[in-house]
Symmetry: C2
Subunit: 358 residues, 2 copies
């Protein structure tokens, strides 16, 4: 029922080998022959059998993109950008360089699913894998990831990290694009301090993620640099952890306000969390920024539309995703040392001002 290479070959009166070569275009075929084959392909409406092809060639055209939460634009933007460099036509080059199937896999932030997807991708002999976003820092999981990735790299799969620090035992088998979360976090809090804030609440992400830790470390660096926090236990007291979602921002902010009603600013782990924080501040009858300044991280598209517009740290998500995509395709050389740090830019907007005196 289904049309096979052999059918095409018969119709074009050539051998299957020739048809294969025409289709793959990596072997000299006379123009007249090629044309005949192409016509046959068209006439018969032939569609290559992917599995058979992958089996014979021992490679596939699948590229996996792992994300923690695809409903979050943070990941959506990176994944979409990566895909522009990988998938289908419209990548500018008009099918040159090879039609790969870029697929996005949503781990939901679960270490098990992350590993499972990697196995599935390994099964498919994926050409490359892009891992986006923060990693979970459980030693067991990290070891398992390292082992699996090493095995995949061995089998010829290109591994690219995007917005995630390289694994501890980061062999040269990967290229990594890491965001400067620590530096961004530091500058953001420094900004607040320079405005005159002294009691700053921090709504952190889940403690086990690298992103959370780095941003928090940056925050505390700034605090200590100004001689704040460390000695009087504020650091711990004014930090509340939670998932990277709006609700967590809302509740954590309420909690911070309860613990210390004198805070004059709240820094959120990311913009989505910041939105929740804003809602909480308002529900307490406080104004932003007059009573409390609020800041986020990432500079997602909606942040500029918040009222007041959100002060945040801009991460070039699209550019990073696109670069990761190019690395995955081997269109771009890996950065020296395999790892590049991507700068974060402070975006000062209306949601932060000096605190009211008294």
């Amino acid at each position: 029922m289904t049309v096979t290479l052999a059918d095409v070959a018969a119709r074009a009166r050539v051998s299957p080998a020739t048809v294969s070569r025409v289709l793959n275009g990596n072997y000299p075929v006379a123009a007249s022959t090629r044309e005949r084959v192409l016509r046959a392909v068209d006439d018969l409406d032939y569609v290559l059998n992917g599995p058979a092809s992958s089996l014979a060639a021992a490679t596939s055209d699948l590229v996996g993109i792992l994300v923690n939460d695809i409903a979050d634009p943070f990941f959506g933007i990176m994944a979409g950008a990566a895909q522009t460099q990988i998938g289908g036509p419209g990548d500018g080059s008009g099918r040159a360089g090879g039609e790969k199937l870029a697929v996005i896999c949503n781990t939901g932030g679960s270490p098990e699913r992350e590993l499972t997807y990697l196995t599935l991708l390994q099964r498919q002999r994926a050409a490359a894998v892009v891992l986006t976003g923060g990693a979970v820092e459980y030693p067991d999981h990290q070891a398992a990831m390292a082992a699996k990735l090493a095995k995949m790299a061995d089998a010829g799969t290109r591994i690219v990290f995007c917005g995630r620090p390289p694994l501890p035992e980061g062999d040269a088998l990967v290229a990594a694009l890491a965001f400067d979360n620590r530096g961004g976090g530091r500058r953001l809090t420094e900004h607040l301090i320079s405005l005159g804030h002294r009691r700053i609440g921090y709504v952190a992400g889940p403690p086990e993620r690298t992103t959370t830790r780095h941003r928090l470390e940056g925050h505390r660096e700034a605090l200590r640099g100004a001689g704040l926090g460390a000695e009087d236990g504020d650091e711990e007291r004014l930090t509340v952890h939670g998932p990277y979602d709006r609700r967590s921002g809302y509740e954590a902010t309420l909690e911070i306000l309860r613990r210390d009603p004198t805070v004059t600013a709240v820094v959120a782990a990311n913009d989505t969390v910041a939105l929740g924080a804003c809602a909480a501040v308002r529900d307490q009858g406080l104004r932003i920024p007059q009573d409390i300044s609020v800041a986020g991280f990432d500079d997602l598209p909606f942040s500029v539309d918040a009222v007041p517009a959100l002060t945040t740290v801009r991460l070039p998500l699209f550019e990073a995703g696109a670069r990761a995509g190019r690395l995955a395709m081997g269109k771009e050389n890996p950065p020296p040392g395999g790892i590049a740090t991507i700068a974060a830019e402070l975006m000062i907007r209306g949601s932060t001002t000096p605190p009211r005196v008294g």
Copy 2:
């Protein structure tokens, strides 16, 4: 170098056939044998060769999810929801029902890419395909899609539409979950009319998409139901089309305000566009909702956090996505007639009030 089924078989002292059967679990194997095989698999760190398996079995465990723009939470939410029902473990059932690889393909709204992804999926002999969001209504493209989908369905691929109307020649080979965009659009505008608005601007999406058309039709139904718009040419004059993004909302709103400074309300094609509309209104020195009411569509997570909170039409994106995922897996029976319409719920919030008199 790579471990194959035969290696496992040798180590377990059984035939390859037995190993295959243990792994697939669809044939009686003695417990002791199974255990021996499983141990060998473990010892050797064996990973199934997906392409080989798919080739031999003539099916694959790939499920494709096509989206127009993965950076948009509208699609992210649906895709993520669908994936929870399809991919990896954590789908509740603990690997029962079959570990499928749910992959998200980002078409960027381009008809060609849509078709290309379908071909790629067809190559891979995908088990199912979920198409989300509005479709482009170019006759040629629709015909091509219908032909391709029919062929895929013939080859055993399950086809599910999610938030998209079925194709004109919608054979029974698909299941479709369609949002009630027309009804939602109608009720939203009726709400505005009931508040007393008479001159209502409409920022529409790209004209060629079904979603755009249906929402706009609903809007106009409401207008006409109230005896507005049709006769005096307002319908056309107060409607501006553009892509589904913030910028378009901003610019279109400026244009509407220019065309008729007396409009008292602006309805946007979706929430993202509405955010842009809000920004434009503010930049004109007007207040929301006192001077101008603004409404969106979709009720994305950030909409409740807009200031004032956005009046919009809630679409159960997560539920619809999950249901589509289940349909794709054959875990749920298709709705009677193959098509189900999903209700839209009007969410009245702070961004809409009666217009100022005079």
